[in-house]
Point group: C2
């Protein structure tokens, strides 16, 4: 049964299948161990679901370890207990004093953890271009594991995530219903002279309320709403200026159900349409 | 005058002062050039304001260059034109084909840009632990500039940003008013049995509507609302389960005005307070 914050969204059998698929890919790619810091990969592998990705953290998968290992900030270890169902030995907190520390770094302790498990000479795959896997995370890890062999794992877990299970498809369809609902609410609200942020308030409200039977969650992206001249570039957000009497506005939004997103873009024209 | 998306929020004189302060810090730290990928630093240095930080991009500051240089994805160059007021020569797009490319990388072209300006042997300060400055960004840059000297700039621009100007304080006070408004709306809505996501919908609505004279913007963090057992850890979000008849809920939210945040945390107890 699904409980707060996603714990229980998927069966342990499904997590087992995900892990088995990832291990097959690791063997093929020649890795003993992968270090996954991408928040979506951490969640997909274990269920871990906390807004803690602004500090270094990760999930380790080793070929010879039955379950993934969560590594993160001490105050977030309880989130791991509540959301993952991992055994206590596979939840490893790092010291609070390492948070945003100029000299030492959380990944010094990650290197110690890896050595303490006897994996100091492992072939390690890391997510070289993952958001939040910073240059310093990598540098400290490499420095702390001089006998290991590092390589980019080239989105190994992201590729494994690409084919969705039936349980995931249920959530994505709910996300789609939420997205449609939010887009309709936005378009109803869009009239010349309405402040842009009033439209955004409707979108966020609808995204969070969700649809009957499926409450909404936060999106990985805020609503994008370029207006007028701004429609010639894709990633502008909004202001509190009024919508124009004529011209274009683009809306790009997501609906989200337990971290699963469905996205939609629509173009709205105000005033008399231009001649072809 | 402030226009859509923050362009014009600050005077060019203020951007000039910011740049001068940063150059003084660069000289003291022994850098000719710094590469700033932290989205907040890019915005503070130039006004650049697009939701494009999920691809590599940056602002360069060189001691001998009058203005910063924006480097980013080709389709975002127009955002730079609309939000920064930088001269066209200081807006340098990278090729679209480099986006999420397994072999080449946008920072290959950044290295070319730096060499083409005659800075190939520069002492370069990078933001080693900045969000989005990934391990791969750094590796490609170092590989592309074999004669340069790289070092961690240790949050040089973040430290410069710490002392706020009068114009910034105006925005932070508005953000504070928005945050108070959103917190009050949330607490009014919080009753046993109300689905958690209904409270969140009120918060997002209030955050976006803002207060009279100051519309709200998106926050760098979603509302945090651990409930019951979840209050023993800080970074859990919400579900669509109802609020409990008794026990604790914590709310941690921000109000935001043109990217400036003010944050507030409150604890709400339902039911009969426990005996001391």
């Amino acid at each position: 049964m699904a409980t707060a914050n996603g714990f229980g969204t998927f069966t342990q059998a499904e997590y087992g299948q995900r892990l088995a698929g990832v291990k097959t890919r690791m063997q093929k790619a020649g890795f003993d161990l992968i270090v996954c810091q991408d928040p979506a990969n951490m969640c997909w592998l274990t269920g871990y679901d906390g807004w803690s990705f602004y500090v270094p953290q990760c999930v380790l998968v080793h070929l010879e370890e039955d379950r993934p290992i969560w590594f993160g900030r001490a105050q977030d270890a309880k989130s791991a207990r509540l959301t993952t169902g991992l055994p206590e030995t596979n939840i490893v907190p790092f010291s609070e004093r390492l948070v945003q520390q100029p000299v030492e770094h959380p990944y010094d302790e990650l290197a110690q953890l890896i050595r303490s498990r006897g994996w100091g000479k492992a072939r390690i795959g890391v997510e070289m271009d993952a958001h939040y896997y910073t240059a310093r995370c990598h540098a400290q890890l490499v420095e702390g594991l001089p006998d290991a062999h590092f390589a980019n794992n080239h989105d190994l877990v992201n590729w494994a995530r690409l084919v969705k299970s039936e349980a995931e498809l249920v959530l994505i369809r709910e996300a789609g219903a939420i997205c449609t609902h939010a887009m309709n609410r936005a378009i109803e609200k869009m009239r010349p002279g309405v402040p842009q942020n009033h439209v955004i308030a409707e979108i966020y409200h609808a995204q969070s309320m969700g649809v009957p039977g499926a409450g909404g969650d936060y999106a990985a992206i805020c609503p994008l709403m370029p207006v007028g001249e701004g429609t010639s570039t894709p990633h502008l957000t909004w202001s509190d200026a009024p919508l124009p009497d004529s011209g274009l506005t683009i809306l790009e939004i997501a609906g989200v159900r337990r971290r699963y997103h469905a996205a939609l873009t629509r173009t709205v024209h105000f005033g008399k349409p231009p001649q072809a």
